[in-house]
Amino acid sequence: MCGIVGIYLKTKKFEKNLGKMLSGMLNNMESRGPDSAGFAIYKNSEKKEYKYSLCINNLDFSKFKKNISNKINKLKLNQYSDHVIVKTTEIPKKFIKLINEEFPEVSIVGYGHSIEIFKQVGNPKDVVKKFNLESFSGTHGIGHTRMATESAITTDGSHPYSTGEDECLVHNGSLSNHNNLRRELKKKGNTFTSENDTEVAAGYVSNSLSNNNSLKNTLVSGLKDLDGFYTFIAGTRKGFAVVRDEIACKPAVIAETKNYVAIASEFQAMAHLPDVNNAKIFEPEPGIVYSWGN
Protein backbone atom coordinates (compact mmCIF):
# COMPACT_ATOMS: atom_id res chain seq x y z
CA MET A 1 0.00 0.00 0.00
CA CYS A 2 1.11 3.54 -0.74
CA GLY A 3 -0.69 6.82 -1.18
CA ILE A 4 -0.35 8.86 -4.33
CA VAL A 5 -1.72 12.33 -4.96
CA GLY A 6 -1.55 14.87 -7.73
CA ILE A 7 -3.05 18.22 -8.56
CA TYR A 8 -3.02 20.05 -11.86
CA LEU A 9 -4.30 23.61 -12.02
CA LYS A 10 -6.33 24.40 -15.11
CA THR A 11 -6.52 28.10 -14.28
CA LYS A 12 -4.31 30.50 -12.36
CA LYS A 13 -6.78 30.89 -9.50
CA PHE A 14 -5.08 28.54 -7.04
CA GLU A 15 -1.43 28.82 -8.14
CA LYS A 16 -0.41 30.48 -4.89
CA ASN A 17 -2.23 27.79 -2.90
CA LEU A 18 -0.78 24.79 -4.72
CA GLY A 19 1.56 23.85 -1.86
CA LYS A 20 -1.21 24.17 0.66
CA MET A 21 -3.57 22.01 -1.37
CA LEU A 22 -0.93 19.35 -1.96
CA SER A 23 0.21 19.29 1.67
CA GLY A 24 -3.36 18.65 2.82
CA MET A 25 -3.57 15.79 0.34
CA LEU A 26 -0.32 14.25 1.55
CA ASN A 27 -1.26 14.63 5.20
CA ASN A 28 -4.50 12.77 4.56
CA MET A 29 -2.62 9.90 2.92
CA GLU A 30 -0.49 9.23 6.00
CA SER A 31 -2.54 6.10 6.72
CA ARG A 32 -1.52 4.59 3.37
CA GLY A 33 2.17 5.34 3.73
CA PRO A 34 3.79 6.21 7.04
CA ASP A 35 7.40 5.31 6.10
CA SER A 36 8.45 8.14 3.83
CA ALA A 37 6.99 10.90 1.73
CA GLY A 38 7.93 13.12 -1.15
CA PHE A 39 6.58 15.62 -3.59
CA ALA A 40 7.39 17.36 -6.83
CA ILE A 41 6.25 20.90 -7.51
CA TYR A 42 6.26 22.38 -10.99
CA LYS A 43 6.73 26.09 -11.26
CA ASN A 44 7.83 27.83 -14.41
CA SER A 45 11.11 29.67 -14.23
CA GLU A 46 13.43 31.38 -16.64
CA LYS A 47 14.07 29.18 -19.62
CA LYS A 48 17.86 29.29 -19.50
CA GLU A 49 18.02 28.54 -15.81
CA TYR A 50 18.11 25.02 -14.42
CA LYS A 51 16.89 24.01 -11.00
CA TYR A 52 18.70 21.11 -9.34
CA SER A 53 17.03 19.47 -6.34
CA LEU A 54 19.73 18.02 -4.12
CA CYS A 55 19.66 16.12 -0.85
CA ILE A 56 22.84 17.10 0.98
CA ASN A 57 22.22 14.53 3.73
CA ASN A 58 24.52 15.26 6.70
CA LEU A 59 26.68 17.77 4.89
CA ASP A 60 26.86 21.23 6.45
CA PHE A 61 24.92 23.67 4.26
CA SER A 62 27.27 26.65 4.64
CA LYS A 63 30.26 24.47 3.78
CA PHE A 64 28.46 23.04 0.76
CA LYS A 65 27.46 26.55 -0.34
CA LYS A 66 31.02 27.77 -0.08
CA ASN A 67 32.50 24.79 -1.89
CA ILE A 68 30.02 24.73 -4.74
CA SER A 69 30.24 28.51 -5.20
CA ASN A 70 33.95 28.06 -5.80
CA LYS A 71 33.22 25.60 -8.61
CA ILE A 72 30.35 27.39 -10.35
CA ASN A 73 30.24 31.12 -10.87
CA LYS A 74 26.65 32.16 -10.95
CA LEU A 75 24.26 30.22 -8.79
CA LYS A 76 21.50 30.68 -6.25
CA LEU A 77 20.91 28.29 -3.40
CA ASN A 78 17.75 27.79 -1.38
CA GLN A 79 17.90 25.50 1.63
CA TYR A 80 14.90 23.46 2.81
CA SER A 81 16.07 21.29 5.70
CA ASP A 82 18.49 18.73 4.18
CA HIS A 83 17.43 19.59 0.63
CA VAL A 84 18.89 22.38 -1.46
CA ILE A 85 17.55 23.86 -4.68
CA VAL A 86 20.42 25.13 -6.80
CA LYS A 87 19.52 27.55 -9.58
CA THR A 88 22.13 27.97 -12.28
CA THR A 89 22.55 28.09 -16.04
CA GLU A 90 25.08 25.23 -15.85
CA ILE A 91 23.83 22.38 -18.08
CA PRO A 92 22.82 19.06 -16.47
CA LYS A 93 25.64 16.97 -17.94
CA LYS A 94 28.32 19.20 -16.40
CA PHE A 95 26.49 19.86 -13.15
CA ILE A 96 25.68 16.21 -12.43
CA LYS A 97 29.28 15.22 -13.19
CA LEU A 98 30.52 17.90 -10.81
CA ILE A 99 28.23 16.78 -8.00
CA ASN A 100 29.09 13.12 -8.45
CA GLU A 101 32.83 13.81 -8.49
CA GLU A 102 33.19 16.56 -5.92
CA PHE A 103 30.30 15.90 -3.53
CA PRO A 104 29.84 12.13 -3.25
CA GLU A 105 27.63 12.47 -0.16
CA VAL A 106 25.11 14.63 -2.06
CA SER A 107 22.34 12.90 -4.01
CA ILE A 108 20.59 14.49 -6.97
CA VAL A 109 16.86 14.13 -6.44
CA GLY A 110 15.82 15.75 -9.71
CA TYR A 111 16.43 18.61 -12.08
CA GLY A 112 14.83 20.64 -14.81
CA HIS A 113 13.54 24.07 -15.71
CA SER A 114 10.44 23.89 -13.57
CA ILE A 115 10.53 20.86 -11.26
CA GLU A 116 11.55 20.96 -7.60
CA ILE A 117 11.57 17.64 -5.76
CA PHE A 118 11.76 16.85 -2.07
CA LYS A 119 11.62 13.45 -0.42
CA GLN A 120 12.63 12.00 2.87
CA VAL A 121 11.99 9.14 5.26
CA GLY A 122 9.58 9.74 8.11
CA ASN A 123 5.94 10.40 8.68
CA PRO A 124 4.38 12.38 5.79
CA LYS A 125 3.14 15.08 8.16
CA ASP A 126 6.69 15.68 9.41
CA VAL A 127 8.17 15.56 5.91
CA VAL A 128 5.64 18.08 4.61
CA LYS A 129 6.38 20.37 7.53
CA LYS A 130 10.14 19.99 7.24
CA PHE A 131 10.18 21.16 3.63
CA ASN A 132 7.53 23.79 4.27
CA LEU A 133 5.39 22.53 1.39
CA GLU A 134 2.56 24.90 2.33
CA SER A 135 4.62 27.88 1.20
CA PHE A 136 5.06 26.62 -2.39
CA SER A 137 3.23 27.97 -5.38
CA GLY A 138 3.16 26.41 -8.83
CA THR A 139 1.17 25.01 -11.70
CA HIS A 140 0.99 21.35 -10.76
CA GLY A 141 2.31 18.99 -8.15
CA ILE A 142 2.60 15.29 -7.40
CA GLY A 143 3.10 13.57 -4.07
CA HIS A 144 3.60 10.17 -2.53
CA THR A 145 3.40 8.55 0.87
CA ARG A 146 5.22 5.25 1.07
CA MET A 147 4.56 1.99 2.81
CA ALA A 148 7.79 0.21 1.90
CA THR A 149 7.49 -3.27 0.43
CA GLU A 150 10.22 -4.34 -1.96
CA SER A 151 13.13 -2.07 -1.04
CA ALA A 152 14.43 -0.41 2.12
CA ILE A 153 13.12 2.74 3.80
CA THR A 154 15.70 5.22 2.58
CA THR A 155 15.69 8.61 0.84
CA ASP A 156 16.72 6.84 -2.37
CA GLY A 157 13.82 4.43 -1.95
CA SER A 158 11.32 7.28 -1.56
CA HIS A 159 9.15 8.67 -4.34
CA PRO A 160 8.81 10.67 -6.56
CA TYR A 161 11.46 9.30 -8.88
CA SER A 162 12.91 11.68 -11.37
CA THR A 163 15.03 10.12 -14.09
CA GLY A 164 14.86 12.84 -16.71
CA GLU A 165 14.63 16.59 -17.08
CA ASP A 166 11.40 17.87 -15.50
CA GLU A 167 10.08 14.33 -15.24
CA CYS A 168 8.83 12.46 -12.23
CA LEU A 169 6.83 9.37 -11.37
CA VAL A 170 4.94 8.16 -8.31
CA HIS A 171 3.60 4.65 -7.96
CA ASN A 172 1.17 2.72 -5.83
CA GLY A 173 1.75 -0.97 -6.35
CA SER A 174 4.61 -3.26 -7.21
CA LEU A 175 6.28 -4.41 -10.40
CA SER A 176 7.32 -7.99 -10.97
CA ASN A 177 9.59 -7.59 -14.00
CA HIS A 178 11.68 -4.65 -12.80
CA ASN A 179 14.97 -6.55 -12.62
CA ASN A 180 14.78 -7.64 -16.25
CA LEU A 181 13.65 -4.22 -17.36
CA ARG A 182 16.44 -2.53 -15.37
CA ARG A 183 19.01 -4.67 -17.17
CA GLU A 184 17.52 -3.77 -20.54
CA LEU A 185 17.40 -0.07 -19.74
CA LYS A 186 20.97 -0.10 -18.44
CA LYS A 187 22.05 -1.41 -21.82
CA LYS A 188 20.29 1.57 -23.39
CA GLY A 189 22.23 3.94 -21.17
CA ASN A 190 19.87 4.57 -18.25
CA THR A 191 21.41 4.79 -14.79
CA PHE A 192 19.74 3.79 -11.54
CA THR A 193 20.51 4.78 -7.98
CA SER A 194 18.36 2.29 -6.08
CA GLU A 195 16.96 -1.23 -6.14
CA ASN A 196 13.46 0.18 -6.28
CA ASP A 197 10.94 -1.03 -8.86
CA THR A 198 9.39 2.40 -9.40
CA GLU A 199 12.74 3.87 -10.40
CA VAL A 200 12.78 1.34 -13.24
CA ALA A 201 9.32 2.46 -14.37
CA ALA A 202 10.52 6.08 -14.20
CA GLY A 203 13.56 5.11 -16.28
CA TYR A 204 11.28 3.37 -18.76
CA VAL A 205 9.20 6.54 -19.13
CA SER A 206 12.30 8.76 -19.50
CA ASN A 207 13.78 6.45 -22.09
CA SER A 208 10.59 6.48 -24.14
CA LEU A 209 10.15 10.27 -23.85
CA SER A 210 13.74 10.82 -24.96
CA ASN A 211 12.87 8.86 -28.11
CA ASN A 212 10.26 11.50 -28.87
CA ASN A 213 7.25 9.43 -27.84
CA SER A 214 4.41 11.34 -26.21
CA LEU A 215 3.71 10.75 -22.52
CA LYS A 216 0.38 9.20 -23.41
CA ASN A 217 1.90 6.76 -25.92
CA THR A 218 4.68 5.98 -23.47
CA LEU A 219 2.21 4.93 -20.81
CA VAL A 220 0.12 2.99 -23.33
CA SER A 221 3.17 0.93 -24.30
CA GLY A 222 4.01 0.69 -20.58
CA LEU A 223 0.79 -1.29 -20.11
CA LYS A 224 2.44 -4.06 -22.13
CA ASP A 225 6.00 -3.71 -20.87
CA LEU A 226 5.45 -3.13 -17.15
CA ASP A 227 4.21 -6.24 -15.39
CA GLY A 228 2.65 -5.90 -11.97
CA PHE A 229 0.17 -3.82 -10.06
CA TYR A 230 0.19 -0.11 -10.42
CA THR A 231 -1.47 3.21 -10.41
CA PHE A 232 1.07 5.69 -11.77
CA ILE A 233 1.08 9.46 -11.91
CA ALA A 234 3.73 10.66 -14.34
CA GLY A 235 4.59 14.35 -14.31
CA THR A 236 6.19 16.49 -16.98
CA ARG A 237 6.77 20.23 -17.36
CA LYS A 238 3.37 20.65 -18.99
CA GLY A 239 1.16 18.49 -16.79
CA PHE A 240 0.64 14.92 -15.70
CA ALA A 241 -0.90 11.64 -16.75
CA VAL A 242 -2.49 8.81 -14.80
CA VAL A 243 -2.71 5.12 -15.62
CA ARG A 244 -3.85 2.01 -13.78
CA ASP A 245 -2.96 -1.54 -14.75
CA GLU A 246 -5.69 -3.66 -16.29
CA ILE A 247 -6.48 -5.57 -13.11
CA ALA A 248 -6.95 -2.26 -11.28
CA CYS A 249 -6.45 -3.47 -7.71
CA LYS A 250 -4.69 -0.26 -6.82
CA PRO A 251 -7.20 2.49 -6.23
CA ALA A 252 -7.45 5.96 -7.70
CA VAL A 253 -10.10 8.61 -7.79
CA ILE A 254 -10.15 11.80 -9.84
CA ALA A 255 -11.98 15.03 -9.04
CA GLU A 256 -12.24 17.62 -11.79
CA THR A 257 -13.55 21.16 -11.48
CA LYS A 258 -13.21 24.12 -13.81
CA ASN A 259 -10.11 25.23 -11.88
CA TYR A 260 -8.23 22.01 -11.18
CA VAL A 261 -7.90 18.26 -11.62
CA ALA A 262 -6.99 16.31 -8.50
CA ILE A 263 -6.13 12.65 -8.25
CA ALA A 264 -5.58 10.58 -5.14
CA SER A 265 -5.60 7.01 -3.93
CA GLU A 266 -8.62 7.76 -1.79
CA PHE A 267 -11.24 10.48 -1.81
CA GLN A 268 -10.40 11.50 1.74
CA ALA A 269 -7.12 12.94 0.44
CA MET A 270 -9.02 15.60 -1.44
CA ALA A 271 -12.00 16.17 0.83
CA HIS A 272 -10.49 19.53 1.86
CA LEU A 273 -10.05 20.90 -1.68
CA PRO A 274 -12.15 23.92 -2.65
CA ASP A 275 -15.51 23.10 -4.22
CA VAL A 276 -14.66 19.39 -4.35
CA ASN A 277 -18.20 18.35 -3.51
CA ASN A 278 -19.36 19.88 -6.78
CA ALA A 279 -16.50 18.35 -8.76
CA LYS A 280 -16.92 15.66 -11.37
CA ILE A 281 -15.67 12.65 -9.46
CA PHE A 282 -14.78 9.41 -11.19
CA GLU A 283 -12.43 6.47 -11.09
CA PRO A 284 -9.88 6.16 -13.87
CA GLU A 285 -10.74 3.01 -15.81
CA PRO A 286 -8.25 0.15 -15.94
CA GLY A 287 -5.72 0.31 -18.77
CA ILE A 288 -6.76 3.79 -19.93
CA VAL A 289 -4.29 6.68 -19.90
CA TYR A 290 -5.69 9.98 -18.63
CA SER A 291 -3.61 13.05 -19.33
CA TRP A 292 -3.82 16.75 -18.54
CA GLY A 293 -1.70 19.57 -19.88
CA ASN A 294 0.47 17.39 -22.09
Binding site: A248, P251, V253, E266, F267, Q268, A269, M270, A271, H272, N277, I281, F282, E283, E285, P286
Partner: protein, 227 residues
Protein backbone atom coordinates in the same frame (compact mmCIF):
# COMPACT_ATOMS: atom_id res chain seq x y z
CA UNK B 1 -30.78 13.86 14.45
CA UNK B 2 -27.83 15.46 12.72
CA UNK B 3 -24.35 14.04 13.17
CA UNK B 4 -21.44 16.16 11.93
CA UNK B 5 -18.30 14.16 11.15
CA UNK B 6 -16.28 17.36 11.13
CA UNK B 7 -17.05 17.81 14.81
CA UNK B 8 -17.56 14.25 16.02
CA UNK B 9 -15.11 11.40 15.78
CA UNK B 10 -16.08 8.64 13.35
CA UNK B 11 -15.76 6.00 16.06
CA UNK B 12 -18.13 7.92 18.29
CA UNK B 13 -20.72 8.29 15.53
CA UNK B 14 -20.54 4.60 14.63
CA UNK B 15 -20.75 3.58 18.28
CA UNK B 16 -23.83 5.71 18.80
CA UNK B 17 -25.55 4.17 15.80
CA UNK B 18 -24.45 0.64 16.68
CA UNK B 19 -25.63 0.77 20.27
CA UNK B 20 -28.97 2.47 19.82
CA UNK B 21 -31.47 1.66 22.56
CA UNK B 22 -34.18 -0.57 21.11
CA UNK B 23 -36.87 1.44 22.87
CA UNK B 24 -35.88 4.67 21.17
CA UNK B 25 -38.36 5.86 18.57
CA UNK B 26 -36.27 8.55 16.94
CA UNK B 27 -34.54 6.52 14.30
CA UNK B 28 -33.82 9.05 11.59
CA UNK B 29 -30.26 10.33 11.31
CA UNK B 30 -28.41 12.60 8.92
CA UNK B 31 -24.63 12.44 8.71
CA UNK B 32 -22.95 15.54 7.32
CA UNK B 33 -19.34 16.15 6.25
CA UNK B 34 -18.36 12.48 5.77
CA UNK B 35 -15.25 13.74 3.89
CA UNK B 36 -14.30 10.38 2.47
CA UNK B 37 -14.02 8.65 5.84
CA UNK B 38 -13.81 4.87 5.84
CA UNK B 39 -16.29 2.49 7.48
CA UNK B 40 -19.02 5.09 7.97
CA UNK B 41 -22.12 3.29 9.34
CA UNK B 42 -20.38 -0.08 9.45
CA UNK B 43 -21.85 -2.81 11.62
CA UNK B 44 -25.34 -1.41 12.23
CA UNK B 45 -27.88 -3.92 13.54
CA UNK B 46 -31.08 -1.92 14.11
CA UNK B 47 -33.83 -0.53 11.93
CA UNK B 48 -32.56 2.99 11.29
CA UNK B 49 -32.93 5.49 8.49
CA UNK B 50 -29.63 7.18 7.77
CA UNK B 51 -28.89 9.80 5.18
CA UNK B 52 -25.23 10.51 4.50
CA UNK B 53 -24.70 13.81 2.75
CA UNK B 54 -21.46 13.62 0.81
CA UNK B 55 -18.79 11.21 -0.43
CA UNK B 56 -17.56 8.36 1.75
CA UNK B 57 -14.50 6.10 1.71
CA UNK B 58 -14.13 2.35 2.00
CA UNK B 59 -16.55 -0.19 3.48
CA UNK B 60 -19.43 2.18 4.06
CA UNK B 61 -22.44 0.32 5.55
CA UNK B 62 -20.37 -2.85 5.80
CA UNK B 63 -22.00 -5.79 7.60
CA UNK B 64 -25.27 -3.90 7.64
CA UNK B 65 -28.32 -5.50 9.24
CA UNK B 66 -31.78 -4.00 8.98
CA UNK B 67 -30.67 -0.36 8.56
CA UNK B 68 -31.76 1.73 5.61
CA UNK B 69 -28.77 3.83 4.54
CA UNK B 70 -28.70 6.38 1.72
CA UNK B 71 -25.46 7.96 0.55
CA UNK B 72 -25.85 11.21 -1.35
CA UNK B 73 -22.49 10.98 -3.03
CA UNK B 74 -19.90 8.47 -4.21
CA UNK B 75 -18.67 5.49 -2.23
CA UNK B 76 -15.23 3.90 -2.08
CA UNK B 77 -14.26 0.23 -2.17
CA UNK B 78 -16.59 -2.38 -0.68
CA UNK B 79 -19.80 -0.51 0.01
CA UNK B 80 -22.25 -2.77 1.91
CA UNK B 81 -19.69 -5.56 1.95
CA UNK B 82 -21.03 -8.54 3.84
CA UNK B 83 -24.43 -6.90 4.29
CA UNK B 84 -26.92 -9.27 5.94
CA UNK B 85 -30.19 -7.37 5.49
CA UNK B 86 -31.56 -3.85 5.11
CA UNK B 87 -31.09 -1.45 2.25
CA UNK B 88 -28.16 0.63 1.05
CA UNK B 89 -28.77 3.22 -1.64
CA UNK B 90 -25.81 4.99 -3.30
CA UNK B 91 -26.86 8.04 -5.27
CA UNK B 92 -23.48 8.50 -6.94
CA UNK B 93 -20.90 6.03 -8.27
CA UNK B 94 -19.41 3.10 -6.40
CA UNK B 95 -15.80 1.96 -6.44
CA UNK B 96 -14.69 -1.65 -6.72
CA UNK B 97 -16.14 -4.67 -4.87
CA UNK B 98 -19.54 -3.13 -4.17
CA UNK B 99 -21.70 -5.54 -2.18
CA UNK B 100 -18.85 -8.04 -1.85
CA UNK B 101 -19.77 -11.28 -0.04
CA UNK B 102 -23.11 -9.79 1.07
CA UNK B 103 -25.65 -12.33 2.31
CA UNK B 104 -28.88 -10.38 2.04
CA UNK B 105 -30.61 -7.04 1.75
CA UNK B 106 -30.74 -4.70 -1.22
CA UNK B 107 -27.94 -2.53 -2.62
CA UNK B 108 -28.94 0.13 -5.14
CA UNK B 109 -26.35 2.15 -7.04
CA UNK B 110 -27.69 5.02 -9.12
CA UNK B 111 -24.42 5.63 -10.97
CA UNK B 112 -21.77 3.18 -12.14
CA UNK B 113 -20.00 0.53 -10.10
CA UNK B 114 -16.40 -0.26 -11.02
CA UNK B 115 -14.66 -3.61 -11.10
CA UNK B 116 -15.66 -6.71 -9.12
CA UNK B 117 -19.16 -5.50 -8.30
CA UNK B 118 -20.95 -8.27 -6.40
CA UNK B 119 -17.82 -10.40 -5.99
CA UNK B 120 -18.70 -13.57 -4.06
CA UNK B 121 -22.23 -12.35 -3.32
CA UNK B 122 -24.09 -14.80 -1.13
CA UNK B 123 -27.73 -13.78 -1.38
CA UNK B 124 -27.81 -10.01 -1.67
CA UNK B 125 -29.72 -8.27 -4.45
CA UNK B 126 -27.71 -5.58 -6.22
CA UNK B 127 -29.28 -3.15 -8.69
CA UNK B 128 -26.93 -0.87 -10.63
CA UNK B 129 -28.58 1.80 -12.74
CA UNK B 130 -25.35 2.53 -14.63
CA UNK B 131 -22.64 0.10 -15.76
CA UNK B 132 -20.31 -2.29 -13.93
CA UNK B 133 -16.59 -2.90 -14.43
CA UNK B 134 -14.61 -6.06 -15.09
CA UNK B 135 -14.94 -9.31 -13.12
CA UNK B 136 -18.35 -8.37 -11.76
CA UNK B 137 -20.23 -11.22 -10.10
CA UNK B 138 -16.98 -13.18 -9.73
CA UNK B 139 -17.61 -16.43 -7.82
CA UNK B 140 -21.02 -15.17 -6.79
CA UNK B 141 -23.09 -17.81 -5.07
CA UNK B 142 -26.65 -16.58 -4.56
CA UNK B 143 -28.82 -13.51 -5.07
CA UNK B 144 -29.40 -11.27 -8.07
CA UNK B 145 -27.18 -8.75 -9.82
CA UNK B 146 -29.11 -6.34 -12.05
CA UNK B 147 -27.28 -3.91 -14.34
CA UNK B 148 -29.18 -1.41 -16.47
CA UNK B 149 -26.05 -0.35 -18.35
CA UNK B 150 -23.13 -2.42 -19.66
CA UNK B 151 -20.84 -4.97 -18.04
CA UNK B 152 -17.05 -5.14 -18.35
CA UNK B 153 -14.81 -8.10 -19.11
CA UNK B 154 -15.19 -11.56 -17.57
CA UNK B 155 -18.71 -11.12 -16.23
CA UNK B 156 -19.76 -13.80 -13.76
CA UNK B 157 -16.49 -15.70 -13.84
CA UNK B 158 -16.75 -19.00 -11.91
CA UNK B 159 -20.16 -18.13 -10.59
CA UNK B 160 -22.53 -20.49 -8.79
CA UNK B 161 -26.25 -19.83 -8.37
CA UNK B 162 -26.47 -16.05 -8.77
CA UNK B 163 -28.69 -14.69 -11.53
CA UNK B 164 -27.14 -11.80 -13.42
CA UNK B 165 -29.42 -9.57 -15.47
CA UNK B 166 -27.80 -7.14 -17.92
CA UNK B 167 -29.65 -4.72 -20.17
CA UNK B 168 -26.69 -3.33 -22.12
CA UNK B 169 -23.62 -4.90 -23.68
CA UNK B 170 -21.40 -7.47 -22.03
CA UNK B 171 -17.76 -7.08 -23.01
CA UNK B 172 -17.03 -10.73 -22.31
CA UNK B 173 -18.26 -13.58 -20.15
CA UNK B 174 -16.04 -15.22 -17.56
CA UNK B 175 -15.32 -18.93 -17.24
CA UNK B 176 -18.45 -21.06 -16.91
CA UNK B 177 -20.82 -18.09 -17.28
CA UNK B 178 -23.42 -18.38 -20.06
CA UNK B 179 -26.51 -16.59 -21.26
CA UNK B 180 -29.67 -18.31 -20.02
CA UNK B 181 -33.32 -18.26 -20.88
CA UNK B 182 -35.55 -15.73 -19.19
CA UNK B 183 -38.43 -17.72 -17.72
CA UNK B 184 -41.59 -16.19 -16.31
CA UNK B 185 -40.29 -16.48 -12.78
CA UNK B 186 -37.15 -14.55 -13.74
CA UNK B 187 -39.17 -11.76 -15.35
CA UNK B 188 -41.34 -11.60 -12.26
CA UNK B 189 -38.35 -11.41 -9.93
CA UNK B 190 -36.57 -8.83 -12.08
CA UNK B 191 -39.68 -6.65 -12.28
CA UNK B 192 -39.91 -6.79 -8.51
CA UNK B 193 -36.28 -5.71 -8.13
CA UNK B 194 -36.68 -2.87 -10.64
CA UNK B 195 -39.73 -1.76 -8.72
CA UNK B 196 -37.89 -1.88 -5.40
CA UNK B 197 -35.11 0.23 -6.89
CA UNK B 198 -37.73 2.66 -8.17
CA UNK B 199 -36.74 2.14 -11.80
CA UNK B 200 -39.76 2.89 -13.95
CA UNK B 201 -38.37 3.23 -17.45
CA UNK B 202 -36.90 -0.27 -17.82
CA UNK B 203 -38.74 -3.46 -18.70
CA UNK B 204 -37.59 -6.85 -17.47
CA UNK B 205 -38.13 -8.29 -20.96
CA UNK B 206 -35.31 -6.12 -22.32
CA UNK B 207 -32.69 -7.70 -20.05
CA UNK B 208 -30.65 -10.79 -20.69
CA UNK B 209 -30.04 -13.34 -17.99
CA UNK B 210 -26.63 -14.89 -17.32
CA UNK B 211 -25.85 -17.77 -15.02
CA UNK B 212 -23.60 -20.72 -14.41
CA UNK B 213 -23.11 -23.44 -17.01
CA UNK B 214 -22.28 -25.64 -14.00
CA UNK B 215 -19.37 -27.30 -15.76
CA UNK B 216 -16.81 -26.28 -13.21
CA UNK B 217 -18.73 -27.23 -10.06
CA UNK B 218 -16.65 -30.36 -9.59
CA UNK B 219 -13.05 -30.70 -10.58
CA UNK B 220 -12.57 -32.39 -13.91
CA UNK B 221 -9.13 -32.71 -15.42
CA UNK B 222 -10.55 -31.92 -18.88
CA UNK B 223 -11.50 -28.46 -17.65
CA UNK B 224 -8.07 -27.64 -16.23
CA UNK B 225 -7.54 -24.71 -18.58
CA UNK B 226 -10.78 -23.08 -17.42
CA UNK B 227 -9.94 -22.93 -13.73
Amino acid sequence: MKLDLKKLKLRKVNEQLQSLDRKVNDRDFTIINPEGNHAVCAGLTEELNINIKGHVGYYCAGMNQKANITIEGNVGTGVAENMMSGKVHVKGNASQSAGATAHGGLLIIDGDASSRCGISMKGVDIVVKGSVGHMSGFMSQAGNLVVCGDAGEALGDSLYETNIYIKGKVKSLGADCVEKKMDKKHIKKLNLLLQEANIKNEKAENFKRYGSAKKLYNFKIDNISNY
